[in-house]
Symmetry: C2
């Protein structure tokens, strides 16, 4: 059977199965690393905990670190598409916050997994550069989308600035969410950060 | 001779000599990597080009990558001290821009070396995570300083947000400076970025 002759239902089922296996591997990797520490967990152990072979593991992730933090790559393309969908009369900054709503909903639905991921990254600073590195790739795509949206050339300063700054703001909200153990909603923390950006980052004493 | 009996003049001379050796190693590392690529340069070759032994190299940098990008660590402590010196009536955002003036002057004085460094990092994306990782350490120190400055607890959202966002904005200015081959001044590009932050990141079309 070629790809062309696969029915949409079959393709949908296959995609769902793939997403489940991917999530199971990420969860197993995070649980084991949270329990034992980054250096004391192997790909074999992660695969066994997720009930697949090591060969299957490598169909999903190139390395152990990718299983721990590599889920972002999937979200980026969809996130950029969401930004492009926000009506053009909305400012680019507000469009990014709007597009984040879906990402935030998914993260809150997967709350346990995300808090575990943030905990693992916080406890294993060796992983932080990897998290930032994923950001670099994503930033390039976002910059091009924003340049088209506001009608400036891609080498204009604004799109790169807005991409870098909103990325930094959202990472800050994620870290606060994790530090608070999820007791405040990620949506609320993201709103606080984006409101401060829109207001021009005044000192807190000015707004009291 | 103990440290206590060293005259200030001798200590000053020794510090200057150390800084020169450090700069010579960083320059040699960057030149060789720009010429041959990251994978084709060894610590031995860098040391030889800077006229020191490999053993001396490791007194200054733990690895080849650190010689390429590790100079930031020195600047961070001084930068944070400069922020603390800006009068308290100045907003924290403006204080960071003011403190950056000195860093920017030094970078522009060392223009060739910095443009080479940015070129090497841009061409060798494997180094980008390292650059971001240094940022993580520096961000922690800055957050504490800013919290004290604006009079909020360190777990308040504002200091971490401002640190992450201004760091991202300055990195954007640095990348634009490098992309333009230094034809626009870094001070001007940093001003553009910080002005946009203070204005609340409006779309460029709104300000035309």
């Amino acid at each position: 059977m070629t790809d062309g002759s696969t029915s949409p239902a079959t393709a949908g089922l296959r995609d769902r199965k793939k997403r489940q296996t991917r999530a199971a591997l990420a969860t197993a990797a995070l649980r084991l690393v949270a329990e034992r520490g980054l250096e004391h967990v192997t790909v074999e152990e992660i695969s066994e905990a997720a009930d697949v072979s090591s060969r299957t593991f490598f169909n999903y992730f190139p390395s152990k670190d990718d299983a721990l933090i590599g889920d972002h790559a999937v979200d980026t393309a969809r996130f950029v598409a969401r930004v492009a969908e926000v009506p053009p009369e909305v400012s680019a900054l507000a469009a990014i916050r709007t597009a984040l709503a879906e990402v935030i909903d998914e993260m809150q639905a997967d709350r346990e997994l995300w808090l575990l991921r943030m905990e693992v990254v916080t406890r294993n600073p060796a992983l932080l550069p990897r998290l930032a590195a994923l950001g670099v790739e994503a930033e390039r795509t976002m910059t091009e989308t924003l340049a088209a949206r506001v009608g400036v050339p891609p080498d204009h300063g604004f799109p790169a600035l807005l991409t870098a700054v909103t990325g930094a703001a959202f990472r800050t909200a994620m870290l606060r969410w994790a530090a608070a153990g999820g007791t405040r909603s990620l949506a609320e923390l993201a709103d606080e950060a984006f409101d401060a950006l829109a207001a021009g980052l005044p000192d807190p004493r000015c707004t009291r």
